[in-house]
Symmetry: D2
Subunit: 295 residues, 4 copies
């Protein structure tokens, strides 16, 4: 069985490498072709269009930046969907909003292609170490067929329900990540401005009852003021836009989620998009403390 993989960014390149390492032959495509080189060196076949991936693969994974990229790759010029052999399986690991996943499912089903939305929890390190968690929406049979491959890339594979439910849960997760990182930053900065050291704050808070456990992974970034991306801020901001869209479509108010969305946007405007999303701490901290007014 040949596996197609489209989208070789921070996440996709590592996920594909894990498939390759388990002996699966890969057909790959990436918009920037140089990112395919490491996989090609280890035997992957690089092709020039998404369409060619479909021609050679029985199952196809996509790991792309946003819904527009998925649409373009699947349905655009040289898109893969019409070139797929009927009954093939498309597994979209991109983070998108659930109504978009359901739309892609419909597009696929019309062409007799099976579809799973299978976004992941975890970022660069988890992708590298095959420790991702897959949140899957789609038919039980398709899920079971795909499960061994997903387990090659992750430590846990959960079927959330029908198409769109994987994407739904992913958005909930990223809403929680984004808001907790922002609110935690605010708390730290307040504590520091009031005279408590960052070290003391982190010592007491991280691992304690009021901080999300994943924040332990961000500790060294905050302490070293070094925001090398595990999960780039620009994609978190994009995900919050997906959250906002999903909330709009399902009649849910999310005041904190939207406030966080705008704060990450201010970070983007200031050029922090390619840094880790924990760089919101640096944005909020800049110039804080000291006298409350100039005079």
């Amino acid at each position: 069985m040949k596996i197609g993989f489209i989208g070789l960014g921070i996440m996709g390149s590592r996920m594909a490498a894990n498939l390759q390492q388990q002996g699966h032959p890969l057909v790959i495509f990436n918009r920037s072709p140089e990112k395919a080189i490491p996989l090609v060196k280890k035997g992957a076949t690089q092709v020039n269009t998404p369409a060619e991936v479909a021609k050679h693969a029985d199952i196809l994974f996509t790991m792309l930046a946003h819904p527009e990229a998925v649409t373009e790759t699947a349905l655009g010029k040289d898109g893969f969907l019409v070139h797929f052999t009927p009954n093939s399986l498309w597994v979209d690991c991109s983070t998108v909003h659930p109504s978009f996943s359901r739309e892609m499912a419909r597009e696929a089903h019309e062409k007799k292609i099976r579809f799973l939305d299978a976004p992941v929890a975890g970022s660069k390190n988890q992708a590298q170490q095959a420790q991702l968690v897959f949140l899957v929406g789609g038919e039980e049979a398709d899920f079971q067929e795909c499960q061994p491959l997903l387990e090659t890339m992750g430590k846990k594979v959960i079927r959330m329900g029908e198409n769109g439910m994987g994407s739904a849960f992913k958005l909930v997760l990223n809403h929680l990540l984004a808001t907790s990182m922002a609110a935690f930053s605010e708390g730290l900065i307040l504590g520091e401005a009031l005279g408590i050291s960052l070290e003391t704050l982190l010592n007491i808070l991280v691992g304690g009852p009021v901080a999300a456990p994943y924040l332990a992974l961000k500790r060294s970034k905050l302490e070293n003021d070094d925001y090398e991306a595990e999960f780039p801020l620009q994609w978190m901001q994009k995900d919050l836009q997906m959250v906002s869209l999903a909330a709009y479509e399902s009649n849910v108010a999310m005041p904190l989620g939207n406030t966080a969305k705008e704060m990450y946007r201010l970070c983007l405007q200031r050029g922090l998009g390619e840094q880790d999303f924990s760089a919101i701490y640096a944005f909020l901290k800049e110039g804080s403390g000291g006298d409350r007014v100039a005079s």
Copy 2:
């Protein structure tokens, strides 16, 4: 040594009971005198004014609702501060902003009274079971003198630094509690509106990496739609006002904290003040889901 205790609400009544249980004789005062009855039955001496507490006690604990209540009790008509024997120790466990704690410290020191700010982490159940965490600001010697008594009421006693630092850390904690409860609620409601059951959401999220561990304690409230107060929403909203004030005084922007503050205020306007602060979930959920617009 006689212990004075002023403020016998949800928290104070339980804290005083733990002191009493360890054999400490208590002199107590509460604005609503009937709340003193259970302690009186077990031997506490109830008096009619804060001043009288000071006349009989060597160390005095206050556990009051807000800075104004502390000011009134300490410095108002029949306030205790001027009636205290010099060198006595006042331990304020109320949640207030740090500049207020420092102001109280100054007032106390002027009258040769020693002062500790010692707010607590934990709510009703932790108070009951002597499982509170005390966050203490003040002199090391005073801290050490007081520590055995605090350990009677709590499981952990931490000196954060000089006067005001206990209050500072407490505000950081409650900022994190308030924002995480609100953001978690938003995430749950989004997930439910997108078709995931509350049970599934809680099963995966609670105890996982993106949810603050304390949220496990709120699970049954959300599931049963029963918000009997452990930590009343009105006090959380008050604490967020303290946070906002401390942030103003120390030049710190807290966009999420302030958004949360306003959401809890909307809850207060709708009469949820005496329920647990997790009732923000009910407020945000009301009418959510379904069609995004009427037609």
Copy 3:
């Protein structure tokens, strides 16, 4: 010249009636056909599908609720776009985001159809009295051809630039309407809670330097607590979503716009969607004033 008109809601029905009154023969379609009856009684031809409108009209106006409705009507099953005679003119008066207008322009141009985005400033009364302001994006020649018809429905017609620029300006306008209504409401409610009468507040503020002049039109609604819709709240909330989307696409942070969006969403959740958007005053006012906390 026969004029097609699709979308006969609060706005569209009044706009079409003004065209009819000036002697223009109309071909009309509305999803709920009963809304067409008054126009049919005065001579309009009602047809069963958008496609049939295109077959009979040389110029076609759409006034629809949201982008999805426009897509469905133009490009869906029985959509009008493929049935239009080449070189016909489609004028979309719906409030949509600019990238959507440009997408519709592309779809139209591919089929040799000309396209203008021409959303309107003004609500029910202005539509009724032909006092709308049209904000137009598209080719100068198309604009000039269409101008007399737009002037039949409005008092002012402004070409903002190329396709999408009409929609762009419309979103700026509605952002200002939505935020000023919400912030004005907050100010009134604060003033009232502090003891100033609503009448005094409105007497001084309305028509003064710090209140947007249009707020005068909302005065009687606030005073009578009667929010019969001129501009339904649900559409304002939708427009704020369009604003948020346009801001996302063009890298602009809008913290106040998004906060307003979420407040209107809370109104929607509470069933205020079909009332005027000034009903946000009622939502925010409910339960305000009085003691700040319960005890």
Copy 4:
């Protein structure tokens, strides 16, 4: 009759100059004494403490930065209140929250001093040209006695009600100023990012129905990117804190007001405090537009 004036900043210096120009002998005090020089040159008596002002004046105006400054000046070491001849009149023109004005009224009344809260609408230019609007809270008789002097400094003098009501109305005004400036900025930046020129946006919006008329006065600042202060941003941020405090005390949620408060705080953190509050436009605009994400 001798007039005391304390607080000679941007506003106070101009207000005092207008009193002087009408022939009123002044006794003045300012924390930074050099600011008194121009008035002294024209005959004012400069003294070294607030207390000395009270000893020489029959009526005393204060125009200070915030409640703490008022407290310090009136009640602190060398404060004026105890040195005032009974039945004298204190007129506080500072922008403070209403409960503080009432507290000052109580302090004054205890010492048999009469008190008016009389904050002003208008900024530097209006102060210079005696075009301020005074919003007065207090006894009708005191108001009438003071009215001629206020009219020397302003164009309009309105009695809002009892003590605190002047301050109440002032906070409503500044809430509207602050939120409209921020929301207008967001709208302009969105329009610009979508391709409309700032000039076109301002031409259509300023003076139109959806923009507060005062925004016309800010036009040249935005166009020239020159934010020389008429109303310094730091004081607007302080006023929003007063608004937030008043809202807390009177049980009013103000989500937009608080979001604006935090945005101005971010401006302060970045050193914009001494610029005009319209500099929030520059803060929000920085880095906006262009691609929504880096890649």
